[in-house]
Symmetry: C2
Subunit: 343 residues, 2 copies
C-alpha cells in the first residue's frame, strides 16, 4: 500500500512525522509518501542517515509548498491553500496515486480536505470520525468522535453501519455489538436523538444491543459506541483527562506513604502496562468513515510511534478495501429503506 | 435542621438508610425523620439498640404505607402513591415540617415528587441535578447531571446561576469559575446549544471562563461545569466506569509483575486515598436545584456512610438557606433580562 503522510501536520511535525514514516517503512512493506516542503523534509530525513539505511526504506518525498496550521479556519484554509501538504495528500488519494492519507494536524481541515478532494461516498449523509477507546479487555470504537456536532437519528444510524464494518473488516470480529449512548438501559431513557436512534437501530441488521450507559463503555459492553460528535468528543477527551488525573493522584498518594513510595520502581512496570493501554499513541489514528477513500486523522500531539501507528492504521483500512465495503453497505441500506418507505 | 429521609429508597434500603440516619444523628445535631412503613423501620432500628444508645439520637419514624420501586414510571408512581415514603418526604418539606428531604431511590420519581409537592421556584424553567465530581485538587459541580435531557440555552444559563450559588454558599467559595462543556476552547467550537449558551454566559455577571473541554474537567479548570442532563449524566457515569476499570487494570497489571504484586499491601494505603476521592459515597447526594425547598438525590447503591453524607448535604443546603438565595438570584436575573428586552 502507498500511504500519503501529511509531513507538516501535528504539534511536533515534521520531526515526529519523518520519524513515524521511518518507523512505518521499517516495520512494514508499505510505501510512505512524505508530503510537504521538499527541502525541509529532506533535511529532516538526513538527520537519520547514520542510524538507518534510508535507501533501503520505501519512503518518497512529495513536494507541497504550503502548510495549514492548527489555528486556521478549516474550510477556508483548504479552499485557499491548494498546495498545502494536507490538500496534496487528499489529492493523491483522490487521483489513485496513494491508497490512504494520514494527518495529525488541524483535524477540521483534514475533514474539509477529505470532503473537498475525495468527496463523500454516495448515500453517506455525514462522514464520521471513528476513534478507538480502550476497554477492560480490548477496545471499542466511538462514532462519531467529533466530526458532526448536531446530528439526526439517520446520521447516527449510518455511523453505526460504517463503524460496524470497520470493526468487522479491520479488527476481524464478526457482528460487533452496537450500542447507542444513553442515560439508562431502558429503551425509554435518553434524549430525543438517542430515543429515535434506538428505534432505527432496533430495526436494522446490525448486532444492536440497546442503550449503553456511560459506565458501560470501558467495560466493553459494546464494540461500536454510537453518539453524536459532540458527546463522542467530550467522552474521549474526558477519558483522557481522567486517566491522566488518576495516574497523577496515584503518584501523589504513593508519596504520602513512604513504604509504598519505596516500592514505586517495582510498581512502575505495572503502571506502564496501564499507561500503554490508555495511551492514544498506541491506538493510532481514527478513520474518517464515509469519504471516498481512506483518511486517517491522528492526535495532534503524536510522537514518532503514534505517527507510525496512524500510518499502519491507514494501510490496514486500505488493505481491507474498507471504502468499497462501506459503499456497498450504505447502498444496500439505502435501497432497503427506500423499499420500505415506498412499499 | 430537620431532615426527612426516604427510608425505602436505594438498593440496600431500609438497612442502608436506617444505618445512615444513625450515623448522621450521631455525627451532627440534626434531627432525622425516617419516613416509611412504621413497623419495618422500627424493626430495622432495633437491630442497632445494643451498639448505639438509640434514645440519645434525634431520630423519629414518620409512617408512610407505600413504596415506589426503582422500575416504576416516575410521574405515574408519584401521582398514584400519595402515601409513599418518597411522597411523604416531599410533603414534609412542602408543609415546613422538615427543612430538607433526601432520597436514594428512583431519581426520576424523586424529581417528580419534588416538583409535584414542593413546586418549582418562580421563574425557574427547569430544576437541575447538581452533582459533585472529583478533580485533581477538590471537586467541581456538574449541572445538569441528568434531570433534563433536551435543553435550551436559557435552561443552561439558569443551571449556571443556581449551581454557582450552591458552590458559593455551601462550599464557601466566592465567584466560582463557570465553564460550558464543549469540544474546544475557542468560542466558535461546539454544538448549537453550547454556542448559544456561551453567548448568554458571556453577558452574565457570573465568573464565566468560557468553554471547557472534556479533558479539563478533572483538572479543575472550572468549578461549575454546565451542560444538558444527557451529557452530564454520560460524563458522570463514564467517569465512574473508567475509574473502576483503571483500578482493576492496575491490580491486574500488578499481578503480572511479582515484585510489584508483593508490594501491594503497602500500595493499598495509597490506592485507598484515591478510591476515596473518586468514590461517590464520599461526596453525598446531589441537590435538585430550582425546586422550592431542599431535595437531595443520592446514588441508588449508597451504603450507610453514603446515606449519612447525603443527609448532611441536605442539612448544609438548608442551613445556608439555599432555596431563598436561588429565589432571589433567579428573580434578579429575570428582571435584568426583561429590562434589557423591553428597554
Amino acid at each position: 500500500m502507498i500511504i500519503a503522510l501529511d509531513a507538516m501536520g501535528g504539534d511536533f511535525a515534521p520531526a515526529s512525522t519523518v520519524e513515524g514514516a521511518i518507523f512505518a517503512a521499517k516495520e512494514s512493506k508499505h510505501k510512505v509518501l512524505l508530503v510537504g516542503p521538499e527541502k525541509l523534509i529532506a533535511e529532516e530525513l538526513l538527520k537519520y542517515h547514520k542510524k538507518y539505511n534510508l535507501r533501503s526504506l520505501d519512503i518518497e518525498i512529495v513536494n507541497a509548498t504550503e502548510v495549514i496550521s492548527m489555528g486556521e479556519h478549516p474550510a477556508k484554509a483548504v479552499r485557499q491553500k491548494k498546495d498545502s501538504s494536507l490538500s496534496v495528500c487528499a489529492k493523491l488519494v483522490a487521483s489513485g496515486k496513494a491508497d490512504a492519507c494520514v494527518s495529525l494536524g488541524n483535524s477540521g481541515a483534514a475533514m474539509a480536505a477529505a470532503l473537498f478532494y475525495m468527496k463523500r461516498i454516495e448515500g453517506v449523509l455525514r462522514p464520521a470520525i471513528s476513534s478507538a477507546f480502550p476497554t477492560i479487555d480490548g477496545h471499542c470504537i466511538i462514532a462519531d468522535a467529533g466530526a458532526n456536532m448536531d446530528c439526526k437519528p439517520e446520521h447516527l444510524m449510518q455511523f453505526a453501519i460504517m463503524a460496524s464494518l470497520y470493526f468487522e473488516k479491520v479488527f476481524k470480529m464478526e457482528k460487533p455489538k452496537v450500542g447507542v449512548v444513553s442515560v439508562g438501559e431502558e429503551p425509554t431513557k435518553g434524549n430525543e436523538l438517542s430515543l429515535a436512534t434506538y428505534e432505527m437501530l432496533k430495526k436494522s441488521d446490525l448486532n444492536f444491543i440497546g442503550n449503553i450507559e456511560g459506565r458501560d463503555i470501558t467495560k466493553g459492553k459494546a464494540d461500536v459506541v454510537v453518539c453524536d460528535g459532540f458527546v463522542g468528543n467530550v467522552i474521549l477527551k474526558f477519558g483522557e483527562g481522567l486517566a491522566e488525573t488518576m495516574l497523577s493522584l496515584v503518584k501523589k498518594g504513593l508519596k504520602k506513604h513512604p513504604i509504598a513510595w519505596a516500592s514505586l520502581p517495582f510498581l512502575w512496570a505495572a503502571l506502564k502496562d496501564l499507561r500503554k493501554k490508555v495511551d492514544y499513541r498506541e491506538l493510532g489514528g481514527a478513520p474518517l468513515l464515509g469519504v471516498d477513500g481512506v483518511c486517517i486523522i491522528g492526535h495532534g500531539s503524536s510522537n514518532g510511534v503514534a505517527v507510525k501507528n496512524a500510518v499502519l492504521a491507514g494501510a490496514r483500512a486500505a488493505e481491507h478495501d474498507l471504502t468499497n465495503e462501506i459503499k456497498d453497505a450504505i447502498a444496500k441500506y439505502e435501497a432497503k429503506v427506500n423499499t420500505v418507505s415506498n412499499g
